[in-house]
């Protein structure tokens, strides 16, 4: 068994990225993700990589766009307002089919909002975020260990499908300290084959172009449709989720990140009080584990989405279930965290008072 280290979530994400072969980082300070660039600033040179503190988030994502075009494993990180600034660049990465990794440690919004953890950027992360038709692979960790281990998967998927990938954490996961065990084998970038599309020093081969546009009529459609095929493959092959106490559950909580941790406590409280509650935790937010939710709805008719936002993931649950089961929401916007007791009382209301009454009470 690998050694366990006590780390902050942000540090674990940075270390996990380096172990996954990341050798280029460009970023800009913003709370609550500052430990990531700080860690990278000394760790990457140690690993023979490059750290650049950019003049802005806009510049940082474009440095990553350039670095990614040369085929290196590269990343940037930020928090909500900074991720908004990066969206044009992320859209270009998607349009140019560049594999990049983005760490997003969410804080309260909109606007300057708050520096405390929140989950208000689910829509932004899972709907593409920038302009145009595209998808981003999004993973949601609920522990420091997952912060440390998800970059490996993000790079793997990003390179396999040539798509931007993101770890969507919240400020609490980024800031908390826990033991972390890096379970993936460490990747030496020198052992990776250079992608066939990478720009670089060439001897006699044809020139290569990395671009996101095609102004000729009909060609952009072909480009996007080719990408859609990869998105479909990802939906089929890269969806991840976790289930807890679902075997006999009559009501299922759907939650990710910090909300999932609170939901575990709420679930235990409910079980002590005779409510048969389980937890369904999407690990990939895109692709969203639709198929499994549909399967579960054959026997579970009540779902409660718990999230630290005004209710964003709830729409994906509704879209997935498409009327097959009741979908309720326990929302906590404004960089606030729900308590286990609050979530338990919501469940109690749903089960005991009935759905319609609960909805009216809200």
């Amino acid at each position: 068994m690998a050694e366990k280290k006590l780390m902050k979530g942000n540090e674990a994400l940075a270390e996990g990225a380096v172990r996954a072969g990341c050798r280029f980082f460009a970023g800009y300070p913003i709370t609550p993700q500052n430990e990531i660039p700080e860690y990278m600033s000394w760790r990457l040179p140690q690993a023979g990589g490059v750290f650049v503190q950019a003049e802005s988030e806009v510049s940082a994502i474009n440095m990553v766009y350039g670095a990614a075009a040369t085929g290196v494993r590269c990343m940037t990180s930020s928090s909500s307002p900074g991720i908004s600034l990066k969206q044009e660049g992320i859209s270009y990465c998607a349009g140019a089919d560049l594999p990049v990794f983005i760490g997003n440690v969410m804080r309260g919004g909109p606007g300057l909002g708050n520096i405390a953890g929140a989950q208000g950027d689910y829509w932004q992360a899972t709907r593409g975020g920038g302009h145009g038709d595209y998808r981003t692979f999004v993973m949601a960790p609920d522990s420091v260990s997952e912060m440390g281990n998800f970059p490996h998967k993000c790079f793997e998927v990003a390179f396999k499908y040539r798509i931007p990938s993101m770890v969507l954490a919240d400020g609490i996961i980024g800031q908390m300290m826990e033991p972390v065990e890096f379970i993936n084998p460490e990747i030496d970038p020198k052992t990776l084959t250079e992608p066939a599309w990478a720009l670089g020093v060439n001897k006699g081969r044809e020139k290569r172009i990395v671009k996101s546009y095609d102004l000729r009529e009909g060609y952009l459609e072909v480009m996007v449709n080719e990408r859609v095929k990869r998105y479909k493959q990802m939906e089929a092959n890269e969806t991840m989720y976790e289930e807890k106490m679902m075997d006999d559950a009559e009501i299922a909580i759907v939650a990710y990140g910090t909300s999932a941790r609170v939901s575990v406590a709420a679930m235990k409280l409910a079980r002590e009080n005779g409510l048969k509650v389980g937890l369904f935790r999407p690990i990939t937010l895109w692709p969203f584990p639709k198929a499994r939710l549909v399967e579960l709805s054959k026997r579970i008719k009540k779902f409660l989405v718990v999230e630290m936002s005004l209710g964003q993931m709830v729409e994906d649950v509704q879209l997935s279930l498409n009327g097959r089961a009741e979908v309720h929401l326990h929302a906590k916007p404004g960089a606030a965290v729900m308590t286990a007791d609050e979530v338990y009382r919501t469940m109690e209301a749903i089960v005991k008072k009935g759905a319609k009454e609960y909805a009216a009470a809200k």
């Binding site: 050798r23 280029f24 460009a26 490059v50 650049v52 950019a54 003049e55 802005s56 806009v58 510049s59 940082a60 474009n62 440095m63 990553v64 766009y65 350039g66 670095a67 990614a68 075009a69 040369t70 290196v72 590269c74 044009e88 660049g89 270009y92 140019a96 720009l199 670089g200 020093v201 060439n202 001897k203 006699g204 020139k207 290569r208 172009i209 990395v210 671009k211 996101s212 546009y213």
Partner: protein
């Protein structure tokens, strides 16, 4: 018969889309000639801008990337840092470099990124149809200042070489022109030097090139001398040619 002059290997034999009298074609040619002469084509990566020169990614016979408006120096930074053996140049217009991309160009100079920037200044937005640029002259008409640029409304044309010369990290800054044959020859010499600096690891080099845009200046397309006259009589007094910085440095 002996072939005196041929198409540079670094420029592909593709029909360009540039308007009659536009300076981009000439500038592409001298960039390509400089690449040929220095023997760097096979390790050069160019960054094409948004704007008229977006298709530079097609014309140059080297690896190319096209990215967001104004961010060329950031992309070039990422490429150069990730692949230090490559020769990286960013090709940008005045709206791209001096307006939306002001932060990127200034900070690339501050970091003394070991890159080469080709800055084409024709004092107008070309592809979008002749809007006022940050380098548009006072009194010069554009589609967003139909009576001519007024200082009260829109301030003054920005002089990039002069401004960047105040930055310690800027290694080499020169302003040239392509409105005359001697100007074209000097432009090529400057571009060669800007590439050579990068080969020698000397840091940030930029060549600002005054160029013509007959289409959006409203000068006659069938009489290119109207446009070259505009450069000579109106642009040169505001944008004097010359070397603004030539720092001896080893990075």
């Amino acid at each position: 018969m002996q072939l005196q002059n041929k198409r540079p290997e670094s420029l592909l034999d593709i029909k360009m889309h540039y308007c009659p009298g536009c300076g981009h074609g000439t500038i592409h040619r001298v960039v390509a000639e400089a690449m040929d002469e220095l023997g760097i084509r096979s390790r050069t990566i160019g960054v094409a801008p948004v704007g008229c020169a977006v298709f530079a990614d097609t014309y140059f016979n080297c690896d190319m990337i096209q990215g967001p408006h104004g961010r060329g120096p950031a992309e070039a930074t990422g490429i150069k840092r990730a692949k230090p053996d490559a020769i990286v140049f960013s090709y940008q217009g005045d709206g791209d470099l001096a307006s939306i991309g002001m932060a990127e160009i200034v900070h690339a100079a501050i970091r003394s990124e070991n890159i080469t920037v080709i800055f084409v200044n024709n004092a107008i937005y070309g592809m979008t149809g002749g809007q006022m640029a940050p380098t548009t002259l006072l009194g010069q008409k554009a589609t967003t200042c139909v009576e001519g640029r007024s200082a009260k409304q829109s301030g003054y044309p920005i002089k990039m070489c002069e401004m960047l010369a105040t930055i310690d990290g800027a290694t080499y800054l020169e302003r040239t022109t392509v409105h005359t044959v001697p100007g074209v020859i000097k432009t090529k010499t400057a571009i060669r030097k800007a590439f050579q600096n990068q080969i020698d690891g000397k840091g940030f080099s930029m060549v600002e090139i005054l160029s013509m845009c007959p289409t959006n200046w409203g000068t006659r397309l069938d009489n290119p001398s109207e446009a070259t006259k505009f450069v000579a009589e109106s642009m040169l007094p505001v944008f004097p040619l010359g070397v603004y910085k030539d720092q001896q440095r080893t990075n």
